[in-house]
Symmetry: C2
Subunit: 111 residues, 2 copies
DNA sequence: TTGTATTAACGCATTATTACGATGTACGGG
DNA sequence: CCCGTACATCGTAATAATGCGTTAATACAA
């Protein structure tokens, strides 16, 4: 997208944006939901479940791993992915904090 | 970003992803925080505050308007942007619902 | 009417993202 | 050891996003 000027924003703002961006793709939402639904670490029947090619899934998994929300452990010939519970909670808290800012003060004053 | 295959995902998943993606840029995070901090609808001293050119800010504002999280009303020669409180709450609830999925069942089983 | 200020729209160059085929690596079965 | 399975990585085409210069469009002031 052309280069993003991260240097003019605060570390917090960039962090938040990176997290949001990582979640900003339906395939990655689907992957997370699927991993949770299966209740156990799922390898790549994700390729079977979602209609995407294996390299594409692998790429999305890597992006999710980048923000730490999932982790993968080698399980023989396949790889086992699961939610990093600690990180999941941490991200949940962070987003919650963001949305807990009082957005009501403006309302009614003008718009 | 290359085409995203939205047709193979559910409407909910696509909606969530679009919301996350819209928030996935530090400038847009900064804009929201600034609007909230000022407690009143701020026009484009955003251009002064953030170090980005006016057309760039305008573009980010449009993307935020696209997901409905802010609204803009004409105020004489300038435009007044503020949080759409209802939408803000709605998005907050939606993200909360997503993160309220029980992610703990997997943990301990394997990874 | 003629500026002036504030935004939006358009278009361009640059960089990122998505998706996938081809290729490489690692493991286990035979 | 060889082969098939399961993934990751590389390379590439297509497309989307950033950022900004330039150009309208609109409202207000003089």
């Amino acid at each position: 997208m052309g280069i993003t000027k991260t240097e003019i924003f605060s570390e917090k703002q960039n962090e938040l944006a990176v997290t949001f961006k990582a979640l900003g793709h339906p395939a990655r939402i689907a992957i997370l939901q699927h991993i949770i639904k299966q209740q156990s670490c799922i390898c790549n029947d994700l390729v079977q479940e979602l209609g995407l090619a294996q390299p594409t899934i692998s790429q999305h998994l890597r992006e999710l791993k980048n923000i730490g929300i999932i982790k993968g452990t080698i399980e023989g010939t396949s790889v086992c992915y699961c939610i990093d519970e600690e990180m999941w909670q941490s991200i949940k808290d962070e987003l919650n904090a963001f949305f807990s800012q009082d957005a009501s003060v403006c309302a009614g004053k003008c718009c």
